[in-house]
Amino acid sequence: MSGLELKNIVKNFGSVEVIRDVSLAVNDGEFVAFVGPSGCGKSTLLRLIAGLDKPTGGNIVIDGNDVTDITAADRGLAMVFQSYALYPHMSVRENLAFGLENTKVAKAEIEARIADAARMLEIEPFLQRRPGQLSGGQRQRVAIGRAIVRRPDAFLLDEPLSNLDAELRVSMRTELAALHARLKATMIYVTHDQVEAMTLADRIVVLRGGRIEQVGTPLELYNKPANRFVAGFIGAPHMNFLEGAIIGHEGGSTQVETVGGHRLSVVAREACPVGERISIGIRPQHITLADAGATTRLDTRIILVEELGSETVVHAEAAGKKLIAVFAGQQQMKSGDSLPLKLDPEVLHLFGEDGRRLS
């Protein structure tokens, strides 16, 4: 297959507009992740691609053919449903075998593929059980298994790892990456897990309210978010935004003023007129402790400390504005302490009043 193309897809449920004019091209063999807030239309888009729903408007092209009117069964995709949709009356083995039997795969081959998938997904002990006798995570793995045994041209995966524990999730991730490399199948992957999206995807599509906000490689999105929404959405904890204004351009740098009169000098953004109100975005990881005597420091007060073991997330407040900072390791901080912070001007993001990135 030579890729997938969505052309001006629109989907309404009754009067509810769920997908509004989405156009996207996915290359053959590409791994694309869909991310976006809950309810933004990721699953719907996947179902449209799969052929389970019909778009209200627009066309879907697979492999150069317009498949808008082709049934799901004839599109040759495999899907992991967000709700699993396992066949409750079939054993796990039968669930896995069903799709293969449909396409007349030889018995021995079916056995081999099931054994393969079961090993990879660690569900071998449950092959004889029915879905009702499995735990949530086990069911989810069966759902993945059902798609991968098929070895289709393209996978549609709707939050396939959401109910798995961290360790399993890492190993599944690796397996999926390996599978992708091996089969060279196109994969469209919906996830809420940033790590999954960042590590697996060739490109990430950020959706919001049925529209595409940005499409790009993981690091593109991370480093150059097209707008405030994407900036806030990519990266955990989310980026801090401070209100501010441009107060002048000076040599190679632009002067910016923000909360409590704190001034920063950032890489020149000459296009912006002085006086324009902007948002300054800074990732929690880029906030460091200010040296005791530093002049350009932001004085804050800690309101919450979250110890994650490997790092410490500090929620602080400066002039009524909340800020999150992440420090490596375990810190001896506690809520109420005052905390002088330094914002790294090199990695600041500036956004105009309309939310667009200024660059």
């Binding site: 449920f13 179902r47 709700s83 079939m90 396409t103 098929r150």
Partner: protein, 344 residues
Amino acid sequence: MTAKTVSSEPPVKSALRQALNAPVRLLMGIVDIPMRAWQKLTGLNGMAGVFLAPNMLIFTVFVLLPLVINFIYSTTSGSAIFLPNRTYVGADQYRILFDCRSYLDPSTCAADTFWAAVRNTAVFVVFQVSVMLIAALTTALILNRELSNRGFWRAVFFFPVLLSPVVVGLIWKWILQREGLLNYALSPLGLEPFSWLSDRFWSFFFAVFVSVWAHMGFYALILLAGLQAIPKDLYEAAAMDKASPTRIFRRITLPLLMPNLIVVLVLALIRAVQIFDEVFVLTGGGPGTSTMYITQYIYETGFASSLRNPGLASAASILMGIVLVILTLIQLGVSARNEKKGTR
């Protein structure tokens, strides 16, 4: 995951519904008070008792008790109707039914008509139930498709169920008699008028056909409800699995429909064994005794003539009941094994 549109009712309508619901809610709320108290007292299994009680009470008085009385009837003789007026004869009635010189040949039995009826019924049941199942299932499957004017099509297939058996028998008799509609319709083909109902094969054929015609809508409706209860996302999953319609039917629809299919199978079987009215009106049991079924025998023996023999009729009905119980047990046994495997 059904792709259904948001049903935003107009506020008037929903307000109206609320108003209509209110008294029901209140009533149910009041019922709930003693129910809760009872639940506290007896736990969940006690509640099972509460839920069963009304049904079982009515059932015991109006179904079970008469059934027991019926059994007692079968041990008495005479034409009197009320038990006290009847004489106890023990197993005599059964002895009469089983009085045969050779069990292989009904005509050597004292009750030769009974055995003829038993044999006819057995053959009828085998054919009628299988035809019924297939027809009802096909209809249900087709009505379950995305048809426009669904309501109309459902009505088309359900309509005959609304007719009383007598009317059903009558319509078809008119169609099938020698100068009936069927012969009239066939006459352009150059076929001589034929007495369909005076021919052994055809009268059997039409007994099956007409009873299926009359009741298929009933079973199709049960199956339709069952089909609609199958989660749509399984069909979507199957579509993603590239399943063909036949395989979807065999591997998804059929197994998930099983509980309802069992209902249909059991009911169809029982009703086939009890077939009476419409065939009686249609063929009267003829030609000869070839479409005379067991219920007609019971009716004739026990009620039709002025010299009735309720004892013998009861004995025959008890025998029929026993056979049915055994058949049903077999069916349920098979399905229970499937059910156990399929705990969701």
